[in-house]
Symmetry: C2
Subunit: 281 residues, 2 copies
Amino acid sequence: MMKDDWFIEEYKDQVGALSFRVEELLFEGKSPYQDIKVVYNPFFGNIMLLDDLVMLTEKDEFFYHDMLVHVPMVSAANPEQVLIIGGGDGCSVREALKHKSVNRVVLCEIDEMVINVAREYFPGLASMLNDQRVEIRVGDGIEYTKSLQSEFDCILIDSTDPIGPAVGLFTIEFYANVRDALREGGVMSAQTESPAWRLEDVAVIRSNIEKAFGNAHLYLCPIPCYPSGLWSFTLSFKAHGKDPLVFDMERANAVAGDCTYYNPEVHKAAFALPNFIRKAL
Amino acid sequence: MMKDDWFIEEYKDQVGALSFRVEELLFEGKSPYQDIKVVYNPFFGNIMLLDDLVMLTEKDEFFYHDMLVHVPMVSAANPEQVLIIGGGDGCSVREALKHKSVNRVVLCEIDEMVINVAREYFPGLASMLNDQRVEIRVGDGIEYTKSLQSEFDCILIDSTDPIGPAVGLFTIEFYANVRDALREGGVMSAQTESPAWRLEDVAVIRSNIEKAFGNAHLYLCPIPCYPSGLWSFTLSFKAHGKDPLVFDMERANAVAGDCTYYNPEVHKAAFALPNFIRKAL
C-alpha cells in the first residue's frame, strides 16, 4: 500500500512489512493481470511493484538474477536454447546471454505491460530484450510449455509468487511439462519462495518439482528486498542421479568474471541448507 | 519509531524500513546506555529493541547466535574458557555451553538492564545465564579486555551497531586487546554489520580486525530481522596461517545435532563470498 510518501509491503497478514520511502511515483498502470507501479527511491533506484509486491530494484536485482540463471546454465550440458517463463523485466535474458553457447532465448511473459514498463523505466536492465537471439512471446507459459517436446537446454521459471496469474506455475502438471520440454542434458531452475517465513510453501513446491522430475535440489540466496531477505530456488535435471555440486567449472569461472554476485564458490555454498530447512523438506 | 500500533526501524536515513505490527508493548525503560523496549508480535514472538533497533526476536534469533558462536567454537583448538562481550540476552551463553569442553563462560555486558529484561521477558533464551559455569560481569568490555592476557580460548563480540556505547568495540585497539586476551589456539568472532547495505562499514571493520590479528575471515549469515537480511561476522585466529575451512568436524557434527541453523556444511558455505563483497574487501 502507499501511505504518505512511503510504500509498505506487508508480510504474513500484516505482522511485518518492508517499507521504502517513495521519492517519485514514475508509473502506475493496470494490465489484465495485475497492477504495475514504478517508484523511485534514492537508495534502491527505480523499483517495480506488481500488485504492490516488490519485483525488483535497480540496486539489488543482481542477487536474484545471478543465482536463478547461472546455477542452471553451468549445470546444463551445453546450453544453446533457453526458455524463460515470466521475467518480462529482461534481467534473466541478459544473464542467459552472458553464456557464449546460447543461440536462442525464448521469453514467455504473460503480461506485455511488464515488458513495456521495463523497456521504458529500466532500460539498462531490459536492453538485451532487443538482441537478435531473443524471441519474445507474450502469452501463458503454462499453455506454451504443453506444446513443447525436447526443445530447450535450460528452462528458468522466473515467476511471481504463487497467487493470482502465477498459481499454475507451481503445480506438478506444469513442472512435468517443463521436464518434457527439456532436451537430454537439460536443466530447470525455478524461484521457490522464502524458506525463512514461508517454509511450508517451499516444502510443498519442492515436493511438486520432485514428483515431476524425480530430483529437486533446493538452493539459497539472500535477496534484501524480498520478504525475510532469504530466498530459495530449486534446480532439477532432466536426467536422474545428477549431483548438483558437479558443474562446468570452466564456464562458471568465465561467467563469474562478468557477475556482481555469482562465482563457483557461492554456487556450491548455496546448496548447503541450515538444519531447520533440511528438516522441513 | 512507534506509529499507531506499528514499530518502524528505518534504514539508511529513512530510505527504507522494516516494520512490525506491535500487538503489545510489554516493557519500556531507559538505562544509562540506551532505550530498551520489549514488544510482542504474533509471528515473531517477543522482540527486544535497543534504541529502536531490533536486537532479537524469539522466532529467529537462532540464525545469528548459531553462526556467531559455533563457527569459532569448533575452530578453537580446545575451547574451555569463553568470553562474550555484549550478549546480555544470554543466547550466546546458551550456545557456547552446548560445547562439552567449556568449563567457564564470562559474560561482560555493559548494560545490566538488558540482562534483567532478558531474564524477565525472554526466560527461555536467557535460562543458561543461571548455569554455574557462567560468570556475569556488568561492565565495559573495552576496559575489561585491557586487563586480560592469554586467558580465553574463544572470544565472541556480540555487540550492537557501531554507534553509541558500542563504537569502541570496532577499533583496532580493542581488537588487539582481544587478541592478547586469547590463549594459544584461541579464536575470536565478531558481528561485523550488513554487507548488502553497509558494505563500506564492513570493509573498514574487517580491515581493523586484520590489522590487529594479522588475519580476518569474513563469513555470512541470513538474519531476517536485521537490515537487508544479510549479515556478516568475522573470524580471526590468534595463530597465523590458519585455514578457516579447517575445523573440528567431530565437534561440529555433535553440536549441529542440537542446533536449528548450524551444521558443518553451512559453516563452510558461509565463507563463500559473492563477487561484490570480495571486491570491496
